[in-house]
């Protein structure tokens, strides 16, 4: 099923590039939903390719899809809807430059993957490249955008990337669903809290621009 996996990975990469180039918040959230679903699919595809036992993980993947693909984007969507300004007007790094940076990130990730000298199962190089790109793009997004909501999206992307790294690198045998679930729950609650704060920021400043959030300094 490498084809499917690769397709999924390419979609993830595309979503990364899309999010780097998009200025509309709504579109960003939608992209994230797509990415969340795709990321959730990766382990099951890999697993299926390996030995075919799907069982418990299937339920888990469903939960994950719900959380990453529906709940979290939903939360963000609600948050975004309340905002008066629905565009990232003046990003710190422009969209074209961001896209270019995204391409560079993909290249660097490929390089890094090769330099790691890991004996990965077939097909996982691509996964690792995607993972690192996603991770880096997440961090990049957080640094280069002013809107608070974009930062949450960046954070989600970072999480996705890390999750992918985890899937790519480690054997599934370590997976304890309690743990996975715990991580997910943290993510969900985290985004919920971020959402609440976003709302409050929006309420307090009439915008979710982080330039307003710079009064605490030395």
């Amino acid at each position: 099923m490498t084809h499917t996996t690769d397709t999924v990975l390419v979609i993830i990469l595309l979503s990364v590039l899309l999010s780097l180039g998009s200025s509309r918040l709504k579109a960003l959230v939608e992209t994230m939903a797509l990415q969340g679903i795709m990321v959730s699919l990766v382990p099951i595809l890999l697993d299926y390719g390996a030995d075919g036992h799907v069982g418990g993980s299937l339920i888990f993947v469903q939960i994950m899809i719900v959380i990453k693909g529906v709940l979290i984007p939903g939360l963000l969507f609600t948050a975004a809807r309340r905002m008066t300004i629905k565009r990232e007007i003046e990003p710190i790094i422009g969209y074209h430059a961001s896209l270019l940076a995204g391409l560079i990130m993909i290249m660097v990730s490929t390089l890094v993957t090769q330099r790691m000298h890991l004996t990965l199962p077939v097909g996982r190089e691509m996964l690792l490249t995607t993972a690192i790109t996603t991770l880096a793009a997440g961090l990049f997004l957080m640094m280069s955008r002013r809107k608070a909501i974009t930062q949450v999206i960046g954070y989600l992307m970072l999480e996705n990337g890390i999750y992918l790294v985890g899937t790519a690198l480690t054997k599934q045998s370590h997976t304890l669903y309690v743990i996975e679930f715990g991580v997910l729950l943290d993510l969900l609650v985290g985004v919920m809290i971020m959402g609440i704060i976003l709302n409050n920021i929006n309420h307090a400043f009439d915008d979710v621009d982080t330039t307003y959030l710079g009064s605490l300094k030395d």
């Binding site: 710190i92 961090l139 957080m142 640094m143 280069s144 955008r145 002013r146 930062q151 982080t210 959030l213 710079g214 009064s215 605490l216 300094k217 030395d218």
Partner: protein
């Protein structure tokens, strides 16, 4: 040792007492003084026992599973206990009338409590037997003295002084800890006993770290800066104890660490000597330039620390060159000066305190004529001033003489030592001359002549609790001066336990002590004779009273008297490159000028250098770095990423 602990116990009980009974103001003070005197008496007795017997007593308890708190009492410790236990009760007595504000009884009680803590911690510093006990006692000493300085915290100057002192205390402590830590890393034990086995280069490092640390407490020249701020800020009996006793703990530390390291190098003695000379000379020059009497006395402490270090350095070089007389007299002079300085400096500070209480000013140019209004204080201070200038027949001379003696002995040593000894002797001579200038200024301007302000004119003698300690100390100055034999024997006795110290032939000591005593008694006798002669000459003659001859001025006023500032200025000017003299002169304008001002101020170059050369630039650089916390969350993410990138290079 039990006696010693009993003394501490009595002191502690006395110290806690005021906290409980501060509403009964005078009763509290009386009981406190009683207990302190009692405790210190017992402590002196314990020190005496220890000096007489040659065995070293010690005691220790386990602490926190990992340490031993150990205290031991050898002859050197016992010697340093003497000033602690003899000056402190006098200062406590002094405080009875000095701290006379009943409405501040709570604060007074706290002050008395910390005073006791200070006494106890100083006693423990001198007896500490290992690294941990020393550090503990040292820190308690710093923090308790800090609170004592902060007594009058409403004043801005006091807060500044307290702050400065706090910083210096902590920085000094850090250096001491570092020294101990280096030692520990080579001995692997907290005990002092194994210090001797440390490799020679490491010993140098330890010694210099400790020298900086102890030096900042003692007030060695470049790190003395806190001293002239803290002493004026503290209540006078506290300044007396801090200046007379506490800073000697720094000296104790230096001598102790020297003795423990059993050093063989010349560099130790040389550096101590050089620091001594610098502190001595610049200390007294700055003292001369100051107008604030307590600041002046504080700088004079720097000077006396310098003299003590010159003695100690000479002694160390003597040990290195196997010259028993040089070693013996160097150390002995240094120790005797420790004792002497504790007496006369406390006396002077108490005198300053008495003036301060009565005239409400520390500005020396606003005093004058006080000896007629405060005769006991004045006379005691004259004796103190003669002693502190190192003049015979009082005690200051005895110590300085022994240091001279050692230094002259060192002139015979080959190599660079002779040059150093020459410098030491010249410095001592210059210090002596400057001290005379400085203290004639203090006495002449503050106590003699006509009062320069109304407050000085209306001053009166202070209470017996304040004059009694001063009289006792003045008497001690005289007694040590004219009967020096037992005291010289005492210091030689306390040198016993210093390592590398070979005994000086007793006949040399005895001969010298006898001669000094003889000289002192002779000058007193001659003085008595000439006084009698003077009296005889005036028998039956008419002695008239009249105004001072005005040299042609018909209406001299008190304000026309020579001020202390002018008195000192030519000397301060002479040392110009090391002393910054700031003059503000408004000039004479127009044909009929009016109201011009002229002020000069002497600034401490160490302080200027510290402020402008170190603290200023440092604050500037650090201020620039505050940009780090920029408030921008994107930047903060950037830090994290940067850290990752940097760290990945190190994997």
């Amino acid at each position: 040792m039990e006696t010693f602990l009993l003394a501490l116990g009595v002191l502690l009980a006395g110290g806690v007492f005021p906290l409980l009974t501060h509403r009964l103001f005078n009763f509290m003070k009386a009981v406190y003084i009683g207990a302190t005197v009692c405790g210190c008496g017992i402590g002196l007795y314990a020190a005496g026992i220890s000096l007489r017997s040659s065995e070293i007593v010690s005691i220790s308890w386990p602490w926190l599973h990992i340490f031993m708190l150990s205290f031991s009492l050898d002859s050197l410790s016992a010697f340093f206990l003497i000033p602690i236990f003899s000056i402190c009760p006098l200062a406590a007595l002094y405080s009875f009338h000095y701290m006379n504000k009943g409405q501040q009884s709570g604060r007074t009680a706290i002050n008395l409590f910390f005073f006791t803590v200070l006494i106890i911690s100083m006693a423990l510093v001198t007896t500490a037997g290992n690294i941990i006990s020393f550090a503990l006692a040292w820190e308690v000493m710093s923090v308790s003295s800090f609170f004592l300085v902060m007594y009058e915290y409403q004043r801005e100057a006091t807060r500044q002084a307290g702050y400065l002192y706090f910083i210096f205390a902590q920085a000094g402590a850090m250096f001491i800890f570092a020294a101990f830590a280096v030692a520990y890393s080579h001995t692997g034990s907290f005990s002092f006993a194994q210090f001797a086995g440390i490799p020679a280069q490491v010993k140098v490092l330890i010694f210099f770290l400790a020298l900086i640390g102890f030096g900042s407490k003692a007030g060695i020249f470049p790190v003395h800066i806190w001293l002239p701020h803290a002493h004026p800020a503290a209540p006078s009996h506290i300044s007396a104890v801090m200046s007379g006793v506490m800073i000697k703990m720094g000296i104790y530390g230096i001598i102790r660490i020297y003795s423990l390291l059993e050093v063989k190098d010349l560099i130790f003695g040389q550096s101590v000597l050089v620091f001594g000379m610098i502190s001595g000379l610049l200390g007294i020059v700055y003292a001369l330039g100051k107008r604030d009497i307590k600041k002046l006395l504080a700088y004079s402490s720097v000077e006396n620390i310098g003299i003590i270090l010159i003695g100690a350095g000479t002694g160390m070089i003597g040990v290195y060159s196997n010259n028993a007389i040089m070693a013996g007299f160097g150390f002995a002079g240094s120790l005797l000066h420790v004792l002497n300085h504790s007496i006369f400096k406390s006396l002077m500070f108490m005198g300053a305190g008495a003036i301060l209480q009565k005239t409400k000013t520390r500005h020396i140019d606003q005093m004058g004529g006080l000896i007629k209004r405060m005769p006991l204080t004045g006379k005691s201070c004259v004796i103190g001033a003669v002693s502190i200038s190192g003049l015979p027949p009082f005690n200051g001379f005895i110590g300085e003489f022994m240091i001279y003696f050692a230094a002259f002995e060192g002139l015979g040593v080959k190599g660079p030592t002779a040059i150093l000894m020459m410098l030491a002797i010249i410095s001592l001579a210059l210090i002596g001359g400057l001290a005379v200038t400085c203290f004639t200024k203090v006495i002449g301007v503050a106590f003699l002549g006509e009062p320069r302000s109304d407050k000085a004119a209306s001053a009166s003698e202070c209470g017996f609790a304040m004059t009694a300690p001063m009289v006792v100390m003045a008497a001690a100055c005289v007694i040590i001066g004219i009967i020096p034999e037992p005291f010289i024997n005492l210091v030689f006795l306390s040198l016993r336990d210093i390592h590398g110290f070979s005994a000086v032939p007793p006949d040399v000591i005895a001969g010298l002590a006898r001669n000094l005593g003889l000289a002192a008694r002779l000058i007193l006798a001659l003085l008595a004779l000439s006084l009698i002669l003077q009296r005889i000459c005036y028998l039956g003659k008419e002695v008239a009273k009249g105004p001072t001859w005005g040299c042609g001025f018909t209406r001299p006023t008190a304000r026309m008297q020579y001020t202390g500032t002018s008195y000192a200025m030519s000397v301060a000017d002479f040392f110009r490159p090391f002393v910054k003299v700031n003059t503000v002169y408004s000039g004479i304008k127009k044909i009929f000028p009016r109201g011009t001002t002229y002020t000069t101020r002497v600034d401490d170059i160490a302080e200027i250098t510290m402020n402008q050369g170190m603290v200023g630039p440092l604050l500037k650089v650090l201020g620039k770095l505050r940009w780090i916390q920029h408030g921008n969350i994107q930047l903060y993410f950037g830090y994290i990423i940067l850290t990752i990138v940097v760290m990945l290079f190190f994997i």
